[in-house]
Symmetry: C2
Subunit: 139 residues, 2 copies
């Protein structure tokens, strides 16, 4: 375990995809894949043009009812000696404009070249990073 908390956050920040879990009002969990960016103890994700099964996104409704989120960034390969993961738990809110929304759009556009062509324009999920857990193989 050579990583510390900042190193774990940094490793997560560089990865292209994460998995966001939220809790439905019913208490059942919900999980989606997200693009995301991290800046200064905040994790941002935005509704973009990537395909969704619906425009009324369950993730947003869930966060509005229950702000607790759990986000996993993990690397899988067939060599299980090379697995690693970072899990970020935190409190999220939905921003449809304003400073946090602008920061989200800027951070995501800086990370993904796909967004340079077509910046995300939907609501932002803004997560204040709380507990961070991580694992990597012992060296």
């Amino acid at each position: 375990m050579n990583l510390d908390r900042d190193g774990a956050i940094g490793r997560a920040a560089a990865y292209p995809v994460a998995h966001l879990a939220t809790t439905r009002p019913s208490g059942a969990p919900h999980v989606v894949a997200i693009t995301f960016a991290i800046e200064a103890e905040r994790l941002y994700s935005m509704v973009d043009h990537k395909p969704k099964s619906t425009r009324r996104l369950q993730r947003l409704a869930n966060i509005e009812a229950n702000p607790h989120v759990s986000i996993l960034v993990d690397h899988y390969e067939d060599d299980w000696g090379r697995l690693w993961w970072v899990r970020i738990d935190g409190e999220a809110r939905v921003a449809s404009g304003g400073e946090a929304w602008e920061s989200a759009r800027r951070a995501l556009s800086a990370k993904y070249q796909q967004y340079l062509v077509r910046p995300p324009a939907g609501p932002a999920i803004v997560v204040e990073i709380g507990k961070v857990n991580w694992w990597e193989p012992a060296r």
Copy 2:
């Protein structure tokens, strides 16, 4: 959308890794990466020798308190025209022995060559597959 429900389950079943979301007793969500196998409307995962941050796994405690689970199998690549995902929601239970545990071990060992050398020996998570959602690019 050329897939039907069985096709979506089949596509998920062939993928090596999934993300399992559960709900903590507090109502906060929790997400982990899992290996898994699917047989006949059941999804199996087991506690194995892959590294965990603890032996007392939060996922098992969560399922024992709240059986609702959401499992996402998704493919990411930089070409966002090639993304796809399958989400399986269902009810889970933990089995530490018996028929379901044996079936889990057999199914996982058949899917992963890593398990032929070292079969999983921990508790099994047995999910009765309920709602299945999926998305793939229009062709």
